[in-house]
Subunit: 199 residues, 2 copies
């Protein structure tokens, strides 16, 4: 059984989206092909073109920017002495959305992956060093995944940042807010116990 | 906190996809903007254009077609006396993928929705009647959702097809293959019991 060629092509393209398998791609493709108005499709296509043409990354922090100035680096109301190191440009927005962080960002672009042999050549280390050499940054927070890759990257960064006299911290590990202990895995529970705080 | 405008526009467009909320749209948008090569984006955009330009529905059965001839109506190896009535063009492919069905299709285009006031003016009834009037079709299977809408549509169709002397059936209700009874809801279990077959 074959799909009409335009549907097949659309499905193949959509399957490149993260977490999208053949069934979800099929659902999206039929919806796009049958239910979307021409104007809606035009909006999507315009947005795709714009994203590729107008989005750039800031050469300093590595976050996304769409204009001349970096939204984060140029904001004078943000703390200049505090730097959060994140893996991807998307995580900048996740941290920003918490409303708790008002410092600078540095996007690494990737995490080390000892198992996949992904090494530090993929990390934006040179721009990080040149920022730290200016001496303005005093405190660094590693806002990295709590995975093997995140741990490896945190260890590597800690070593690399040794020469600078910085206060280094990493996001706390513990029980996700709103979870029942019953559903928390043993590793998380152990980390939560080790990190227990006076109440 | 604001996203760069191209990301925001892309997210808004992607949120029109079925089942895609703001978080999934964000994930897709960042992936598209940051990780897709220009060639991959071009493929997606080309597929979107093609889908809208080249896909049409067969005026007889209502299934999708991309060429001159309908893949289903023109296939002489398919049974001419058996007709499956489905709600959407996508469901044709779902049924086709089972490999069990080799008859004709009729796409209604919608289901009746008594609660939303969606009536029979949305159903492709006229082309259905003209097909049945030819007298070639002897057996009709309702391949409809087992929902309130599917039930209402099945009852409506049964009434409408009364004047034609047809053998009418509906897909069996019962326990999904591979499920444990523990996770099957009471309504399904009751239908499965009523439809029990000699073993």
């Amino acid at each position: 059984m074959k799909y009409p060629l335009p549907i097949e092509k659309l499905m193949r393209a959509l399957q490149r989206l993260p977490g999208v398998g053949r069934r979800t791609a099929e659902r999206y493709a039929f919806d796009l092909a049958l239910d979307w108005e021409k104007e809606e499709l035009d909006l999507l296509q315009g947005a795709l073109s714009d994203a590729k043409e107008h989005l750039t990354t800031c050469p300093i922090c590595g976050a996304l920017k769409d204009g001349q100035e970096c939204f984060f680096c140029q904001d004078t109301r943000r703390r200049k002495d505090l730097l959060a190191i994140v893996a991807t440009a998307r995580e900048v927005f996740a941290l920003e959305a918490t409303g708790e962080y008002r410092g600078q960002y540095h996007v690494l672009g990737s995490l080390l992956s000892p198992l996949d042999g992904r090494g530090d050549e993929r990390l934006r280390m040179a721009p990080l060093f040149s920022r730290l050499q200016k001496g303005e940054i005093k405190e660094v927070v590693f806002a990295l995944d709590s995975t093997l890759e995140g741990d490896a990257t945190a260890l590597f960064l800690k070593e690399q940042l040794e020469p600078f006299s910085l206060s280094i911290s990493r996001l706390a590990f513990g029980i996700p807010v709103g979870s029942s202990l019953e559903y928390v895995d043993g590793g998380t529970l152990a980390r939560a116990f080790l990190g227990r705080a006076t109440f």
